[in-house]
């Protein structure tokens, strides 16, 4: 990563499928990965629903894009922050989310989790510590 890379945060606060924001946010993240900035993703409020496992969209005739989150590691996008309070309010725990991992090139390519569960106050710190915030 270049020294003058900017810290980019993609903020996801909306549920998938009801609206297109989650999908089109992911499209920005994938394209943005080529720019070698310092990228993080935040999932809070209804955005945490984007990461649930077992999504099956056959019955609604819409493409299931949830597998794409698991590919983020291949694009060197491996900082996914999920807010604990948002999960709890929605009756969810980390067990309801997909497992998303990346291979750490600085640690002998060990497979590590990309999802970090953070408190609301930690999420506020993450948000404050950015150069660019893109909201979806």
């Amino acid at each position: 990563m270049e020294n003058d890379a900017k810290r980019f945060l993609y903020v996801n606060r909306k549920a998938p499928y009801g609206t297109i924001y989650a999908l089109e946010s992911l499209e920005v993240v994938l394209i943005g990965a080529a720019f070698e900035q310092n990228v993080s993703l935040a999932f809070l409020d209804d955005g945490v629903f984007q990461l649930t496992k077992g999504q099956d969209t056959q019955g609604i005739g819409v493409k299931n894009f949830s597998p794409t989150y698991r590919a983020l590691g291949d694009y060197d996008v491996n900082k996914l922050y999920v807010e604990k309070e948002s999960l709890e309010e929605r009756g969810l725990s980390v067990d309801d989310l997909q497992e998303i991992t990346y291979e750490d090139e600085d640690d002998d390519w060990e497979e590590k989790p990309s999802i970090n569960i953070v408190s609301r106050s930690e999420m506020a710190d993450i948000m404050a510590n950015q150069d660019v915030v893109l909201s979806f």
């Binding site: 909306k14 629903f49 019955g59 009756g91 309801d96």
Partner: protein, 102 residues
């Protein structure tokens, strides 16, 4: 005379479900569709309020929308009934009126 109410918004984001439940009459059906299906998740911050209304009002959730969002049917609040699109159509036919809470 009774009404099928549809709610398509997450109750964690908007007031639509609360407003709908505040206006639905006994004997009406409230059907959760699209992002509205999140209202059927048990042990959430609002699930008690939902199940409290499940006796006077027929609470239903659209299963294809539930599956799309990865919500296991086992996680649905007790007393909420699962329907498919065919069931949705027949609910609209059975009730004399349909009202969307957009």
């Amino acid at each position: 005379m009774s009404t099928l109410h549809t709610v398509n918004k997450s109750p964690f984001s908007t007031q639509s479900l609360v407003s709908c439940l505040g206006h639905a009459k006994d004997g009406d059906t409230v059907l959760l569709i699209e992002d509205g299906v999140y209202g059927a998740i048990s042990q959430s911050g609002i699930s008690d309020a939902i199940s409290a209304r499940a006796t006077e009002v027929n609470l239903c959730v659209l299963q294809p929308d539930l599956e799309a969002r990865g919500v296991d049917a086992a996680k649905v609040v007790e007393g909420v009934n699962l329907v498919d699109y065919s069931g949705f159509v027949e609910l609209a036919a059975k009730h004399s009126l349909t009202q969307a809470w957009l």
